[in-house]
């Protein structure tokens, strides 16, 4: 396995229904940022949830492997799997409004991982939480730790969630569209912050987004997902210079790239969509689904 996170032929079905993920294969190298792009509904979030063991009850993993730090998660018993995930991975969620428990103060929500999983003393965990809040540029961390989530703005909450994700020094962080729910004005700051934190802590980052423009700024490698199937795995430079798959090329043409603001935009042509649909169907037939 070449990745810190290696997903091999991961297949997820709706229980008693059709496929949601079709033989997904991708690698996230240690300390690198891997982008996962695809339009809404392609299955990006479900990949993240499959890795973290939080798939909705309606879905089930029907095949493949998920290697995290050299261990195949799907071969582990549930308790051991939870432990392995908790010790190595963390999540920066999409919606900061629902990602913090409304009934609990901020402090314990950050220190929970440290105390529960790593067995830290409470006072040490609190000191660590204060440092982290400082690191994500939150003014007056002591007061914020005593606040309830509804007393803070969306941008503030997302900073807290970022701090919280980095708290236990996980070696993989999955960020699921971490800026989509925020005001445009704070999106850039948050993106910058995640990128900075990632560099400083050397964490591997799986960055989920539907925005190729964002990927081009922060990622080293990427996977393009269409209807639950990875149509292309690539390094950033090569991808932007020479996308291999027609859908990737079309997606690129439909995206405003920050280096070339004047370039005209073309929506993904219907012919390309038809072709990739056929390809995905064909794959299902081959896989005997």
């Amino acid at each position: 396995m070449s990745g810190f996170l290696s997903i091999r032929n991961l297949t997820v079905h709706l229980r008693g229904g059709g496929p949601i993920l079709r033989a997904v294969t991708m690698d996230v190298a240690p300390g690198q940022v891997h982008g996962l792009v695809g339009e809404s509904g392609a299955g990006k979030s479900m990949i993240g949830k499959a890795v973290l063991g939080t798939l909705p009850r309606a879905l089930e993993i029907t095949g493949g492997e998920i290697w995290l730090d050299g261990v195949d998660l799907l071969a582990l018993a549930p308790a051991a799997r939870r432990k392995q995930i908790g010790a190595t991975a963390a999540l920066i969620p999409q919606d900061p409004l629902t990602a913090l428990n409304p009934g609990k103060r901020i402090g314990p929500q950050i220190t929970r991982r440290l105390v529960d999983i790593l067995g830290w003393r409470k006072s040490d965990a609190e000191a660590r939480a204060r440092d982290l809040l400082d690191e994500v540029h939150i003014p007056d961390p002591v007061r914020v730790m005593r606040s309830y989530p509804h007393e803070l703005s969306g941008g503030m909450r997302q900073r807290i969630l970022i701090a919280s994700a980095f708290a236990a020094e996980p070696r993989l962080i999955i960020a699921d569209e971490p800026t989509t729910a925020l005001d445009v004005t704070v999106q850039k700051q948050i993106l910058r912050l995640i990128s900075d934190m990632q560099t400083r802590h050397g964490t591997a980052l799986l960055f989920v987004t539907h925005d190729l423009g964002v990927v081009s700024k922060v990622c080293d490698t990427l996977s393009v997902l269409y209807a639950g199937k990875v149509v292309e795995n690539a390094r950033m430079r090569r991808f932007f210079m020479r996308p291999i798959h027609p859908y990737s090329a079309a997606l690129l043409a439909a995206t405003p790239i920050y280096t070339d603001p004047d370039r005209g935009l073309t929506p993904v042509p219907q012919t390309v969509i038809d072709a990739v649909e056929r390809e995905v169907e064909h794959h299902d037939v081959r896989a005997g689904a």
């Binding site: 949830k49 995930i85 991975a89 409304p102 999983i117 005593r146 509804h150 803070l152």
Partner: protein, 283 residues
């Protein structure tokens, strides 16, 4: 960022004070009835029948709220009646709450087959006319405190189950629950530490409402003489007796009626007030 404290410490409203105050008063009355009551609530004195309350002409000293047709002291009977009313409220309310909320929480949080089994059970249960069910039960078990309590639990646990199921479900779908699990919590642990505290305000509101309902049900059952033996004073029993002589002695009917009304109102207002004040999810 707004100031932290201003939002959370809302002032205790008038309605919390009034309802809480009345219920506290009633609790004291129930606990200390033997010392507070001026007379023996069962003592009859046919020469003192239908004496009016103290401010009216012809009132008998020592009988503040007058006497009924058998010459028993109305105030003392109301005080003793509070005992039964509160016992039923407490026991029936708590049992209903524990059974209904536990099942609702499990159904809403675990979903899947747990939910299917519990929800189906609730649906079937609710298809029976509940009052008929209760009367049937009392007919079988015979009237008495235990029968009343069982009847109330049987009729009302489904309300808790349905409301709490819906709330647990909406809380369970939120990302913070997933985060707790990624952080290594078990599903059961997450339910207790993350979900339960957030549905607790609703549970408490429903519980107090249920206590009010229990008081009414007990009153109705004693009104139709299905409650415990008619000797020990109950508000419902007093209302039933008072009704027959309302033209000669209105006070026998009106005082227990007012007490009952205020008590039920207080329970429901207390529930609403507490929910407003403590629900972090509402804000």
């Amino acid at each position: 960022m707004r100031d932290a404290r201003g939002d959370v410490r809302r002032p205790i409203g008038l309605r919390l004070w009034l309802s809480g105050g009345w219920l506290a008063l009633l609790t004291v009355a129930a606990l200390c009835a033997p010392w507070l009551a001026p007379k023996d609530p069962l003592m009859q004195d046919l020469f003192l029948g239908r004496m009016p309350p103290f401010w009216m002409e012809g009132a008998e000293p020592g009988y503040l709220l007058g006497t009924d047709s058998l010459g028993r002291d109305v105030l003392s009977r109301i005080l003793y009646g509070a005992r039964l009313a509160l016992i039923v409220a407490l026991v029936a309310g708590t049992l209903t709450c524990v059974i209904g909320a536990t099942l609702g929480l499990m159904a809403g949080y675990y979903r899947g087959w747990t939910d299917r089994v519990i929800s189906r059970f609730v649906d079937i249960w609710m298809a029976f006319p509940p009052v008929l069910f209760a009367i049937l039960l009392i007919a079988v078990l015979g009237p008495g405190l235990v029968s009343i309590i069982i009847a109330i639990v049987i009729i009302d646990w489904t309300r808790f189950a349905r409301v709490i199921r819906a709330e647990a479900m909406s809380q369970g779908a939120m990302d913070y629950v997933a985060s707790a699990q990624v952080a290594g919590r078990t599903r059961f642990g997450t339910m207790l530490t993350e979900i339960l505290p957030n549905v607790l305000p609703t549970i408490i509101a429903l519980l107090t409402l249920e206590m009010g309902i229990a008081v009414i049900v007990e009153a109705i059952l004693s009104f139709v003489n299905l409650s415990i033996s008619t000797d020990s004073p109950t508000w419902g029993g007093m209302i039933a007796e008072g009704r027959t002589s309302v033209h000669q002695a209105w006070w026998v009917l009106v005082f227990p009626l007012i007490t009952l009304f205020l008590t039920v109102l207080s329970f429901s207002q207390l529930g609403e007030g507490l929910k407003d004040r403590f629900d972090p999810v509402l804000r």
